[in-house]
């Protein structure tokens, strides 16, 4: 049950990045999560509401892009998706494959911001925001 810590880390990182765009609202946060990342999607979604409460991310959607486990098979010289996380074997030749190429990711891929049009009152313009980056 470390999904709340994970959610809090995402909120921290996104708030930091979004602060370069004053006045913008975070609409969506997109993650890349590997099948071996030990993160339960439902639990993370549940914690998302708690973690974003009282932050500029409140009301934003969390989109989780799940990535399968990919191993490299030395014998076949290919990267291939394993048939399940209970067996780390090359799906072609059936030999054990320890060389993991994908599956541990726990990343923020991108965020979607909603920004006011230039000149809208009380909020910085996109151009001003860009100057600050």
């Amino acid at each position: 049950m470390h999904e709340l810590s994970i959610a809090a880390s995402i909120v921290e990182a996104v708030s930091e990045s979004a602060s370069a765009y004053p006045g913008a609202r975070v609409k969506e946060v997109r993650l890349r999560v590997g099948a071996l990342a030990s993160v339960v999607e439902d639990s993370l979604q549940f914690c998302w509401e708690l973690a974003t409460e009282g932050t500029p991310l409140k009301g934003s959607a969390l989109v989780i892009n799940k990535l399968p486990v990919i191993v490299h098979c030395e014998a076949c010289r290919v990267d291939a998706e394993v048939e399940g996380v209970q067996s780390f074997r090359c799906p072609r030749c059936g030999e054990p494959a320890a060389d993991l190429r994908q599956g541990r990711e726990l990343e923020i891929e991108s965020i979607e911001l909603e920004e006011p049009e230039p000149g809208e009152p009380g909020i910085a313009t996109t151009a001003q925001a860009e100057e600050r980056i």
């Binding site: 470390h2 880390s9 030990s38 209970q86 780390f88 054990p96 891929e109």
Partner: protein
């Protein structure tokens, strides 16, 4: 209103990863071999570590341990009986150790300098899920599995077993009474982590400890 997509492409646990990289550099320059011990609660991490610390000490090696638990310093007191320096980390509800906690407990650890150690063991909080995401700067991650837990534990927790560098089967003296199928357990561990070193041990009888100690010495001299 206009919509803008900002590509971030950053690790969610980037801060932990950076702290862990800093710790790893410190450990390497101090010449201390650091191991992170992970298992379910009740696998026997503390008994195994107790015996390891005692035997290392008899062999003239300098070893110390940081031990993580949600509450109490019972494990630290148990381990201190080995004569090795031991420090407790209480996480107060957090289900894993992170690099910040490790760094904080290394600083101001009275009488312990990394440069004066051959081995540092970090006994993680008993949990087979969450510790897999948190790098502590260790060089070797050891997963422990006891014969009372069932041979299919690796299949149930592939994330952690796949991230381990070595596996230790504990309480092997109870294998018979528990009807534990060693071959199946070893096969399951290797199904998740092909090629991993596996040690079958008993902290009670000392079975398998020599192989384990030899492995530690080999890894330390690498």
């Amino acid at each position: 209103m206009t919509t803008r997509i900002v590509e971030l492409r950053r690790g969610i646990l980037k801060k932990n990863d950076e702290l862990a990289a800093g710790l790893r550099a410190r450990f390497t320059s101090a010449g201390v071999l650091v191991l992170n011990l992970v298992s379910s609660p009740g696998t026997g991490k503390t008994a195994f570590l107790e015996r390891t610390l005692r035997e290392l000490r008899v062999g003239g090696a300098r070893a110390a341990a940081l031990v993580g638990d949600l509450e109490t310093d019972n494990d630290a007191r148990r381990l201190a009986a080995s004569g090795a320096p031991v420090r407790q980390i209480n996480t107060h509800g957090i289900c894993h150790l992170d690099a910040e906690m490790v760094g904080r407990h290394l600083d101001g650890w009275e009488g312990v300098a990394l440069g004066g150690l051959d081995y540092l063991f970090i006994e993680n909080v008993g949990n087979l899920v969450c510790p897999s995401s948190y790098d502590l700067g260790e060089r070797i991650r050891v997963v422990l599995l006891s014969v009372t837990e069932g041979e299919d534990k690796p299949l149930k927790y592939p994330g952690l077993f796949n991230s381990a560098d070595a596996a230790v089967i504990t309480k092997i003296d109870l294998a018979g009474p528990c009807g534990f199928d060693r071959d199946l357990a070893v096969r399951n561990i290797r199904e998740i982590r092909p090629g991993i070193r596996i040690f079958e041990t008993s902290a009670k009888t000392g079975a398998g400890m020599n192989d384990w100690l030899t492995y530690l010495a080999e890894q330390r001299s690498r």
